[in-house]
């Protein structure tokens, strides 16, 4: 029964990873036996309405899964999944806000790497405060719900209002990723091809990148250093590899879902150009154009400008590296979950 499969899938998501497969397999055996007996008594399969009533009697997936967890005294099993979701969101947003505020202060107040190192020490404090506030709020909510049920409506702490029809759909394809149509895949391939043509035109015709600004740049007092040229060609190579890979997917009929290996490779290749910028000699990206040195504005601090650019590159490297690590972690966890799935 599809509804039972969806129920078990939803329960599974709230169980401890190491015991998911075992608990779900046992639960499936018990519930299927119960279902069989009900259907044999009726002499027909359950109608959708009867199946919904039956699953509602079992309790929501979060409640069912919570009973398998160790007792949590501060926050009850009913609201624990909500608490956990809010906590993760709060930690994420607090981290983003802290990172943005730190970078903005670094740039506007002109701080150096030493200041950044010191600022990093404040990050654990931000995390601890976020966790404490969210936990405190949920613990207070739990206390009031248990001791003063007239204040908090029952449907906020008991999920009797849940409906099996709201359970997530089963995944038809167990490979992670959004499915694409053939037309979308072809359109992406054409767009990538056009992007490469455009990139290859830039060195000879800078106007395609800068517009009229290309003429101004040619006679500007500052110019890009050689590392920028290397960066450009790495970007070109990156796009050519992507195009070749996607072309192969189209030819082999494998366009619907991007493979895990491809996703990882794309993320890994995305790190290379950024890390290349870190190796810029003397951390210099802009230099004086000898032919136009006389036009150099007196108040332009080129060293400070390069310093800011280098700081941005450090932040960018940090972000792309974290993204790569997260992707590897997601792929690893996905593989582990599929490996532990019952029936395998």
């Amino acid at each position: 029964m599809e509804l039972l499969d969806r129920y078990l899938l939803a329960v599974r998501k709230h169980l401890p990873l190491a015991r998911q497969a075992d608990i779900v397999a046992e639960l499936r055996a018990n519930l299927e036996a119960q279902l069989e007996e009900q259907e044999s008594e009726l002499g027909r399969p359950l109608t959708e309405g009867e199946a919904i009533d039956w699953l509602k009697r079992l309790g929501s997936p979060t409640e069912m899964a919570a009973k398998y967890q160790p007792l949590r005294y501060l926050i009850g099993p009913t609201i624990f999944p909500t608490y956990w979701m809010i906590l993760r969101l709060a930690v994420l947003w607090a981290s983003v806000a802290w990172a943005v505020a730190t970078v903005v202060r670094m740039i506007t107040e002109g701080h150096g790497p030493e200041w950044l190192a010191q600022a990093l020490w404040s990050y654990p404090g931000v995390l601890a405060a976020t966790v404490a506030w969210v936990t405190g709020a949920f613990a207070a909510f739990e206390y009031v719900a248990v001791h003063y049920p007239n204040i908090i409506p029952g449907n906020l702490t008991h999920s009797s209002a849940w409906s099996p029809t709201s359970l997530p759909r089963l995944e038809k394809d167990d490979r992670p990723g959004k499915r694409r149509t053939f037309a979308t895949a072809v359109a992406e391939f054409v767009a990538e091809f056009a992007l490469i043509i455009w990139l290859l035109l830039i060195p000879r015709y800078p106007v395609v990148l800068m517009g009229p600004g290309a003429i101004y740049l040619e006679h500007s007092a500052i110019r890009l250093t050689h590392i920028s040229v290397e960066f450009f060609w790495v970007i070109v190579v990156f796009n050519v590899v992507q195009l070749a890979w996607h072309g192969y997917n189209l030819l082999s009929g494998n366009w619907a879902v991007k493979g895990v290996l491809q996703k990882l490779a794309a993320k890994a290749m995305g790190v290379v150009p950024v890390l290349l910028l870190l190796t810029a000699p003397g951390h210099v990206f802009l230099e004086v154009n000898p032919d136009e040195a006389a036009r150099m504005p007196a108040d332009l601090d080129l060293a400070m400008l390069n310093h800011y650019l280098f700081t941005s590159v450090i932040v960018l490297s940090f972000i792309v590296t974290i993204q790569l690590v997260l992707e590897i972690w997601k792929v690893g966890m996905g593989g582990y979950r599929r490996g532990m799935a019952p029936g395998r």
Binding site: L27, M64, Y68, N150
Partner: protein, 113 residues
């Protein structure tokens, strides 16, 4: 009025659950002197007048097994893999002690009530 009813109902539910909790463990241990898997155990308890929710019974079996009071094994029956539980040696000892305790409490309660 509505307020006092809600509080009273809530209090009764909490006390009822507290009263049942220990009894359920004793009933499950007693029933598992014979081997059962989750569903047949639940049926057997229900037939004897002790209905128990799936979401209470199945996790309870896991906990009792973790405590060493039950043993379990996966086995195929009627073309389906099922996890069968029965009382372990430690479980039998514990059951005997709990049964003595239950009888003593029961006898005392009869005198008190």
């Amino acid at each position: 009025m509505g307020y006092s009813m809600t509080v009273a109902e809530n209090m009764f539910e909490n006390l009822r659950l507290e009263l049942r909790r220990g009894c359920l463990t004793l009933a499950v241990l007693a029933q598992l002197r014979q081997e059962h898997y989750g569903y047949t155990l639940r049926k057997a308890l229900t037939e004897r007048g002790l209905a128990i929710d799936e979401s209470t019974l199945y996790p309870l079996l896991r906990r009792l097994e973790t405590q060493g009071l039950l043993t379990s094994e996966w086995r195929e029956e009627e073309k389906r893999n099922k996890r069968f539980y029965r009382l372990s040696a430690d479980g039998e000892t514990m059951f005997t002690q709990l049964l003595d305790e239950w009888n003593a409490i029961n006898a005392s309660l009869y005198k008190i009530l």
